[in-house]
Symmetry: C2
Subunit: 398 residues, 2 copies
Amino acid sequence: MTDCKFANDADVIAFARDHSGVFQAGANLGVEEIGDGNINFVYRVFADDGTSVIIKQALHYIRIIGEGWPLSQDRIRIEAEALMQEAEYCPDLVPRVYHFDANRSAIVMEDIGAHENLRHALIARADLPVLAEQLGRFTADTLFHTSDLYLDAHRKKALVARFINPDLCKITEDLFFLDPYCDHERNNVNPLLWGEAEALWHDAPLKLEVARLKYRFLTCAQALLHGDLHSGSVFVCTQGTKVIDPEFAYFGPIGFDVGSLLGNLLLNYAGQAQLPGTDAERAAYQAWLLQVIRDFWTTFAHRFAGLMAAETRDPSLNLPLYHEAFLAEVLADTIGYAGTEMIRRTLGLAHVVDLESIEDGQQRALAEGLVLRLGRSMIMQRERLGSIDALIALVREH
Amino acid sequence: MTDCKFANDADVIAFARDHSGVFQAGANLGVEEIGDGNINFVYRVFADDGTSVIIKQALHYIRIIGEGWPLSQDRIRIEAEALMQEAEYCPDLVPRVYHFDANRSAIVMEDIGAHENLRHALIARADLPVLAEQLGRFTADTLFHTSDLYLDAHRKKALVARFINPDLCKITEDLFFLDPYCDHERNNVNPLLWGEAEALWHDAPLKLEVARLKYRFLTCAQALLHGDLHSGSVFVCTQGTKVIDPEFAYFGPIGFDVGSLLGNLLLNYAGQAQLPGTDAERAAYQAWLLQVIRDFWTTFAHRFAGLMAAETRDPSLNLPLYHEAFLAEVLADTIGYAGTEMIRRTLGLAHVVDLESIEDGQQRALAEGLVLRLGRSMIMQRERLGSIDALIALVREH
């Protein structure tokens, strides 16, 4: 394993100067470490004239833990290649990659500093008028164009091989589908929710459906997923959206990406009820969130259907009846994976600020209990709901 | 592309002597070309004392066509590695690999000359008392042990990458799932069946289900399949079975392998009605074939269930309810893929001697019509049948 860590600020600056192509010759450059993630090192290199780039470096271990938790450096190659793949279809929705350096395990990319983390924006009840459309377009366009519906069979299989991503997939396999359904030491359970958690660990019908979803995650190579599409991987401003951090990218079920976003919107929905503000403010934002969910799915489904109709290359898959059935299956997966995201963010290792910022344990338990029950219903009913409106009605019932 | 073709008999003999380890030093060796396949070169090298080996060589084109039809030589590496993988679980059911030589694109392996091709044995109404049990064991043991139920997540994904097999998969993708469902120039249709063929090409509900099965073939990386498990890839004698030629191996849906065998048994069943012999002989052999089908599935399902109960490593997949659901899904896939095998052997490019040996076109059309209608029913009803006995009842109805 190479230790290619930048030696000092000058090293980072020289690397940015050599590999970005954005700075004026002789410009005076500064650097700051901005990594608020846990796994990698992230630097911002900037010039006096406002020009800047981001450098992301992956070492052979997890940043906040150190060499005791090794992690393949191949993840940074996968992230760079996934960003470039996504940019083929949605260049406006991902940071531009200026350079990927395999020896340094580093990407030099566009600074999207004008955007803020979607999770924080939702907690602050930001109005994001283009969010639903842009997320729908991102998922439809990246997922359709990396599927067998569009890609030549050889090209698809070559991509599957390039995006074999066992280290990062294993994290999802465990944290989404294993830990929350048993009394695992990695879990993080609100003591006030212990009864509900214990009931869930013995819920055989639920565990059957989660096993099905896990097996699809393990075996169903439908399209190149982002693979970690929670609100923390989306950056927003009023006019635009940037999707970052696809280091979990691999070929998996389309509904996993779409469902991860949906689940995060519902996590925020559940948290809103206990966040500060007037009842009217809460209710208005929750209504807006449900509208975002509807518009996000509708945009995704309409674009995906349009792409299937216009660009499916394999004639044996280019059948209107099949396209309908395909989207119905993606909706079922989406609802199911959203449910697993909601449950793992409540009982599992990694919680979300949307709920964690509710300081009072009782109130947090109320929101968490709602998430658990809604997540369970979504997993159990995913094949019966049949429409985004039926899902929204289910949310309103809870 | 390397042209590593053996220059002459002496070259083949020297290669066998150097790489098999089975011949006495100084033994006098002879060679004969025995390739009755169409794609590769196959030689038998033998000593006076009866010792012999098989050498299989894959060139960068199809043997009977020549350089005009290129085909990746990687197929011989895949065959060698698949044989070795299968030997880990069923050493008695595959020819032993003595040596694989990547530079020569050649495998030196055990001579299974005492066995005959299963297709010919079935046409000759051979009694094969261990066939059903051995095919059930082969499929259960090879497929379970290369699935996510058994393999560590990293190991599974590394194997998926090693068995990416686009050239050979493309042949199946086209010949099974595309050609037979349209008026394709590669098709080979009995003129007396033209009306039924045309009806099938416009059968939208059938084409929907075939699209679903094709998409599972493209995306569903459940286990390392043999990938070409028709009766011509199985060699038999009274005491034993050898499964050969896994050059189509890749990670796909378990039911594709099981269904390929099932479909070939049913193709023979349909052909029996028009083959020479008394009515009583025909009826007895058809009854035996249905018993083989029942015993084959039952052995597969019992062994697979036993392996799931005893050796599933992932606790989140180790649930009795999930194991039941898993086998139900494999049965549905099995019946569906068997149906596609039956239809493609009737309308598609590559027919089977079980039906082609019926010289009278009218009589052949009767058998082919039965195959088409039964194949269609199996595809359409695969998720509803629910048991092997229900399938056998369906066969009897036709």
